[in-house]
Assembly symmetry: C2
Homo-oligomer: 144 residues x 2
DNA sequence: TTAATACCTAAACCTAACTTTATGTCAAGG
DNA sequence: CCTTGACATAAAGTTAGGTTTAGGTATTAA
């Protein structure tokens, strides 16, 4: 149905990436006509699944596993759910970590903003760690 | 004051990593006694700064730049603030992306939970995209 | 007929932040 | 005297997820 160039355009994915996915076995039934790849509906579906799972932050390795399970049918619903549950926990933790990072960064921005206004960092050191503005104190506490 | 092995223990950082940081120039004034590294207070401080900036998600390259600015004194407050402002924006965006990812994952978990209960995915397909439970509908909409 | 275009492969290259390996020095302890 | 342990170096290896390169085939348009 489609050549690799057409698929590349449709999905806005580099041709080299599609070939790479193919080499990695993500299109198990991809046909060839005199050596040239022909992507049919199934292959396109597979690609959509890859894109979707990538969006949920899965590694290619996990996606490969998922595809294996998916082709095995309803007996693997549980495995697939567990895969997503695990990933969900990791992502939730990542968000927490980034939230902490963001607190650090907000503190740093406040810090240098004040240093610019004061012309020095010395005044801030005299405020630490107990005389900061309430809002900043909260940030500061959140990572100390 | 300290050997590399002691610093490694104190900070729980592999020796190889400390040597790597040194090679990369993160301890500009690190002393040697007959070839052997001696970490003094300043070097320890530098390491603390590295650790802290790493926690805020900066790349080593940016940390290097930051240290250069820091040694230049108060004339570089603005540069340093901009560095953190930039990083803040990136992290805020990352959190948003991960939040979307989490929505996808929560939907997937619901999906397979239901598939397990029903014994099939077919029922879900008949609900799509308009007859999902309200809560799930919200998740679904958030990434479609 | 020749040139452009689209496809093919294998293999090398890329990035970041380390880690591992191979080899060597040096001091202390048994 | 010899071995163990802590230190040193340079250079190669690791990881993921591709990208780039070099070289080749096949069709089509001028």
């Amino acid at each position: 149905m489609y050549t690799i160039g057409q698929v590349s355009e449709m999905f806005n994915i580099p041709i080299s990436t599609l070939r790479y996915y193919d080499k990695e076995g993500f299109f198990p039934n991809l046909k060839r006509v005199s050596g040239i790849r022909r992507f049919n509906k199934n292959d396109i579906e597979a690609l959509k699944v890859i894109e979707c799972l990538k969006e949920s932050g899965l590694k290619l390795k996990d996606i490969k596993q998922f595809i294996k399970w998916a082709t095995k049918g309803s007996s693997t619903y549980k495995n697939r759910k567990e895969l997503f549950e695990k990933r969900k926990k990791v992502v939730a933790q990542e968000i927490k970590n980034l939230q902490k990072t963001l607190n650090i960064l907000e503190y740093k921005c406040w810090y240098y903003d004040k240093a610019i206004k004061d012309g020095t960092e010395d005044k801030i050191y005299k405020m630490l760690p107990n005389k900061l503005p309430t809002k900043i104190q909260k940030l500061y506490d959140s990572f100390h």
